[in-house]
Symmetry: C2
Subunit: 266 residues, 2 copies
């Protein structure tokens, strides 16, 4: 039910910012890296993609990137920082749908739909490339394989939302939390922001609560349980896996839904 977000996250400084300027090269961007998991991109496709990268923008915490109900919104590719996409209900409560990390494409629906059905806001300072509707449709027309790759990325995002749905529908709070933090770890590893031991994480317990359909109080209790069971520690902006295998077992974590097994299209 918490509506406020943290203007000052405890882990803000500890998130590796990975010298944003270095990301300007298209091939090395987290986004290209992610799409490469699906198609082996040609030189031409790389260039088409760089057209999407022209307009670089910066967002500070508290400023909206995409706003529910507004028209003609842009999409973005996150270069650095974290964001969250969420819906606000009439009674003021909030459901966070997903968190975005570097390399994530965000706001696809707000481009394809006439009006955006959700909000996106930065959780840390964010560097992102603006993608306008026209650019996106042009690129699709020129390089269908890239279009397919974007479709694949969108499907992967949907798979994650589905997994969150299973979390809320059928898993206990503890399993849910473990599952979620493992998924986040997997995603961060894909872009080099996590390893087996854990990762820096700027999420407050309020944010976790709104993402997992729990109360902040219960989030706290669940985190304590997991810590006391020696599975994982989430403190001072860092998630540490104390017993990775035990955690995977506890969470029944099967990451096949993240489709990580190398390019499908040659």
């Amino acid at each position: 039910m918490a509506v406020k977000q943290s203007p000052k996250s405890p882990a803000l400084e500890s998130v590796p910012m990975k010298e944003p300027t270095a990301v300007l090269s298209v091939q090395d961007s987290p986004f290209a890296r992610k799409l490469s998991a699906f198609v082996r991109l040609s030189q031409e496709e790389m260039e088409a993609m760089s057209d999407l990268y022209r307009r670089r923008r910066h967002f500070t915490v508290g400023s909206d990137m995409i706003h529910q109900g507004q028209k003609d919104q842009c999409a973005y590719v996150l270069a650095s920082g974290w964001a969250s996409s969420y819906k606000i209900l009439p009674d003021g409560s909030r459901q966070i749908v997903d968190f975005q990390i570097p390399g994530d494409f965000l706001g696809l629906r707000s481009v394809l739909f006439r009006t955006s059905d959700h909000n996106v806001e930065p959780l840390t300072p964010v560097q992102a490339s603006e993608v306008q509707q026209k650019d996106l449709l042009d690129v699709f027309g020129r390089t269908p394989r890239l279009a397919t790759a974007v479709l694949w990325a969108a499907s992967r995002d949907e798979a994650m939302v589905v997994e969150r749905l299973v979390d809320l529908g059928r898993r206990s709070a503890s399993v849910r939390m473990a599952h979620f933090l493992l998924e986040l770890g997997s995603r961060l590893r894909m872009v080099g922001l996590a390893d087996k031991t854990g990762y820096a994480c700027p999420l407050s317990q309020y944010l976790l609560a709104d993402a997992l359909g729990l109360s902040a109080v219960h989030v706290n209790r669940v985190l304590r349980e997991l810590r006391e069971e020696g599975l994982l520690t989430f403190q001072r902006g860092r998630v540490s896996f104390d017993d990775y295998d035990g955690l995977v077992a506890h969470a029944e974590f099967d990451r096949s839904y993240l489709d990580l097994d190398g390019p499908l299209l040659g």
Copy 2:
């Protein structure tokens, strides 16, 4: 937690089957109708689409259309009948992610991913067109606008999953049920299978429970409440809106996430 589905649904016969053979004409198919909500399809695009329609298949209740964990799955476009897509958890419980109705594209993820991350099974006898990976990628290469339209349709599906997520995370059982049945009504209206008074619905209370993250017992109680409040009646395979406006208010139903306002691409 219910794992069994209904081999004999009470409403099975009352679902209008809309003479399946008449749907063979591409322009009139519910699928074309749905995509037309996004792009005005050219003759060429219609023809490309008809390539996706070649292999028509029939499924009986109890046979799987798509199976979790299997490789090289097909996708389908539903011509008639209802299906449900779901995930089974290790403990045997089930979360239904969505129900498919005529015109719905199903199993996109199972084509794009190496292995399917979910199951799809018919709830009534089903007529569907099989879409193989190759067909789909070919069509994308030839007609990018069609690819964009499919991307749009996939985004619309994701928007519905997101709304289900909000249901499970932040809405009470009663609001959740009302919201869900209204959404289903909107979707059915788009393909001419519902009107303001209601629609034929082959879903058992067990299925509703597994979709909404409730127990079947509680589904029953919630339906009774809604009936006693004069909002809606769900009996003998038919959902009747007794007080549509009251229901919309109760459910806080805002259907902008279905993006119904006419073609975006000329």
